[in-house]
């Protein structure tokens, strides 16, 4: 059995942009080594929810605890916590002026205060993990989309996060490149990483998700195992959305 204490604990999370309430009270607990997929129509608040989990967005109310630490507490060192919360973006967001390896060593050196040699050793190991050790000296523009996304994953992994957040990691990729990124994510899952994934890769979710969460209009409509949510959803909204995905 997997550990019961949640690594990521979201309680009563609310967030508005102007008059537009994006998150209307979200409760979600993610246990260590669990892989949770969040699905839902665009505008349902999935990305905002992820971005509240590392304070890229500041919630209006509610609590986010990572490994027991309240991110919103006045004494919390948010930059120290962000090291523990890896994030992977739809558009990769590699630093275009830096080689792959320097993309990874920057935070190791500036945040984790590693020496150059130590940072490079860790970065190479992370690149090895995503199968791109031989590309360490390539600039992002010299890499395919799939390779860029794997470097971005390595950049987060190198900091030894407790939880990884994936915001539509394969949506910007050509279909033939999606597999390489999903393979890396499968490896991470097998290695015991806790992952929260916003993605509509349904086939991958069936294989890799411990739990699927369906969000709509800023609330969690329902959640369950992949077979429950994809096969026998209780809510009409979920069934309608899932049938759209299958089309």
């Amino acid at each position: 059995m997997k550990a019961a204490t949640p690594i990521l604990d979201i309680i009563g999370l609310r967030k508005s942009f102007g008059a537009n309430e994006i998150l209307k009270g979200i409760d979600l607990a993610v246990r260590a080594q669990e892989t949770v997929f969040i699905i839902g129509p665009s505008g349902s608040g999935k990305s905002t929810l992820l971005r509240c989990c590392n304070r890229l967005e500041m919630p209006d109310s509610g609590t986010v605890r990572v490994d027991g630490v309240d991110l919103g507490h006045a004494t919390t060192d948010i930059n120290a916590m962000r090291r523990r919360i890896g994030m992977v973006f739809q558009s990769f967001n590699l630093y275009p002026h830096m080689k792959a390896i320097d993309n990874i060593t920057l935070a190791l050196r500036r945040v984790s205060k590693k020496s150059r040699t130590e940072a490079e050793r860790i970065a190479l190991a992370a690149l090895e993990q995503v199968g791109l050790a031989e590309k360490s000296n390539a600039y992002p523009a010299e890499l395919s989309g799939g390779q860029q996304q794997r470097v971005a994953i390595a950049r987060a992994l190198a900091l030894e996060p407790k939880v990884m957040l994936f915001d539509e990691p394969t949506s910007a990729l050509d279909p033939e490149l999606v597999g390489s990124v999903l393979a890396v994510m499968s490896d991470m899952r097998r290695a015991g990483m806790t992952m929260v994934v916003v993605s509509h890769e349904m086939r991958f979710a069936r294989d890799a998700a411990d739990r699927v969460v369906f969000m709509d209009h800023g609330v969690i409509v329902e959640q369950g195992t992949p077979s429950e949510v994809f096969g026998q959803a209780r809510h009409q909204r979920t069934r309608a959305f899932v049938s759209q995905l299958e089309r």
């Binding site: 590392n54 558009s91 967001n93 002026h97 523009a141 010299e142 950049r155």
Partner: protein
């Protein structure tokens, strides 16, 4: 007298060259000093203002925006005259060199701020997100992720603007700064021959052509590596 002889006699008269070149050289030196002072201080202040603007303090930003717009709108010559002839009336007399330096540095700072700011804004939001998500501070994100990309993007407009404003050192003529053009016009008024002006033009070429070439070299040097 042939046309060619007349041309040489007007613009490149050997006796005038012989008698005025030391003055022209003195003027070049002053122009170079002035241009260096303007470029270094103007770009530094411009970058500083753009960085202050990233802190998003509403009142501070409003002040910067108004200041920058005024400095960009008023012709530098008008400002030079106002500062040089106006300030003594309030009891502050600055040497003409200092007046020209301050005015041109302020103008370059204003244009520089706008160029740097536009460059900072054009760095995609995702770059900030990625850097902050790995725990980098705001300052580190600026220094290591955003500014290096900004500089590459703004180099062409920045170099052009810097050259344009540096050439305004010629405005020193109207307030008696002994810079290149001033030395030339002074010499002309004594001898009624355009040769010193030709020498001045050559002097400006010697000073600014290498800067233009350096600018294009920098643009190539700092362009993103393409696949």
């Amino acid at each position: 007298m042939s046309a060619m002889e007349r041309f040489i006699d007007t613009f490149f008269k050997p006796s005038v060259i012989a008698s005025t070149w030391p003055k022209i050289l003195d003027g070049m030196l002053v122009t170079v000093e002035l241009a260096l002072a303007v470029v270094i201080s103007g770009l530094a202040v411009g970058l500083l203002l753009a960085l202050i603007r990233t802190a998003q303090i509403r009142l501070v930003n409003a002040v910067i925006i108004v200041l920058v717009d005024v400095l960009r709108a008023v012709p530098p010559l008008v400002m030079v005259l106002i500062v040089y002839f106006g300030l003594p009336n309030v009891g502050l007399t600055l040497p003409s060199f200092a007046v020209l330096w301050l005015v041109l540095a302020a103008v370059l700072a204003a244009f520089g701020e706008e160029i740097f700011w536009a460059g900072i804004l054009s760095v995609r939001r995702g770059q900030w997100d990625a850097a902050r998500s790995t725990g980098l501070t705001f300052i580190d994100t600026l220094a290591f992720v955003v500014l290096p990309q900004t500089i590459r993007m703004v180099l062409p407009p920045l170099v052009n603007r810097t050259i344009a404003i540096s050439k305004n050192t010629a405005l020193g003529t109207v307030i008696g700064v002994p810079e290149l053009l001033n030395q030339a016009t002074t010499a002309v008024s004594f001898i009624s021959n355009a040769t010193p002006l030709s020498l001045a033009a050559i002097g400006y070429l010697i000073i600014f052509l290498p800067v233009v070439l350096l600018g294009s070299w920098l643009e190539r040097r700092f362009a993103f590596r393409k696949a």
